[in-house]
Amino acid sequence: MEPIKIIEIKKSIFADNNIDADELRDELKKKGVYLLNLMSSPGSGKTTTLIRTINLLKDKIRIAVMEADIDSDVDAVKIKEATGIPSIQLHTGGMCHLDAEMTRQGLDSVPMEDLDLVILENVGNLVCPAEFDTGSCRNAMILSVPEGDDKPLKYPLMFSVCDVVVINKIDVLPYFDFDIDKCREYVRMRNPKAQVIPICAKTGEGVDVFADWILREVENWKK
């Protein structure tokens, strides 16, 4: 047997990303640009919710969207057509999450000095995006009614990193045994600070509450 030497490393693979993310946040603070990271399972309604929310906000603040959920540009095009705001497609090459470095590359291609808010539609997945800090100012997630009220129990990390949990598709509540109060309680167990906002992106019900939350956040960030 060949003799071997052992070199101790003891380094988390998230360590470099956490440093990159903190640097990016500092820079966003200096520039007065607020980055919101929006996460969910595929099909929970990220794109539909964004369109509704942006249409409530676009006359008040300057917004752009970075789309990473799927590698084709259908969502980016949909957002641009439905809201008129700039929307770019990030190519994740099939990665199951975005890290701070990929987010920074995306930000390099939007006109940061002309913006107040950038929303990142993250890859549809409840596991990995929670582990990789993108450098965003806040994280929000969407849980849709058909997915079940016990998701906070199954994906605790995701719920513990989010400041807002939007419960979407409340129009279909009569057809599912989804208990909003129970869900609130499960979210609270994982993250007592998280705000829960029930909405219907299809009709727009409740979306104003989410839009107001974003507006307050952006104003505070710029102070």
Binding site: E2, I4, K5, I7, I9, K10, I13, M95, C96, C128
Partner: protein, 118 residues
């Protein structure tokens, strides 16, 4: 399936460590993987084989996994317990004020390099 993505981060960090230590071949990488880290060790080693062999530095390099058992701590009775078995609820006092002490690690513990005394 995010193990391939994780493998790319491991490769990046191992390359960095190899450079810092002036090493031109790494024969083994030992990972600490927590029981509740969401990384599946078998997938990780499969992805590793595929990706590592594409790198000159890591040809034939073996990835070894040390599993770190998940342990939680209860703030109410100040005792530890096995996370995987009992979840968020303390088995000693049934309290819910618990948090994970360890078990979500995804870290490179050490690397092994051929030792050729000159």
């Amino acid at each position: 399936m995010h193990e391939l993505g994780i493998v790319f981060y491991i490769i990046r960090d191992v390359k960095e460590a190899a450079e810092a230590n002036h090493v031109d071949h790494v024969s083994g990488v030992v990972m600490n993987i927590g029981e509740v880290s969401t990384v599946v060790p078998e997938y990780l080693t499969d992805c590793w084989r595929w990706a590592a062999d594409k790198e000159e530095l890591l040809k034939g390099c073996e990835l070894k996994v040390c599993t770190i058992p998940a342990v939680s701590f209860c703030e109410d009775c100040r005792q530890e317990y096995e996370t995987v078995r009992y979840g968020r609820t303390c088995p000693h006092c049934h309290g819910e004020n618990t948090y994970l002490l360890r078990g979500n690690e995804v870290e490179i513990k050490e690397i092994e390099v051929p030792d050729c005394p000159l």
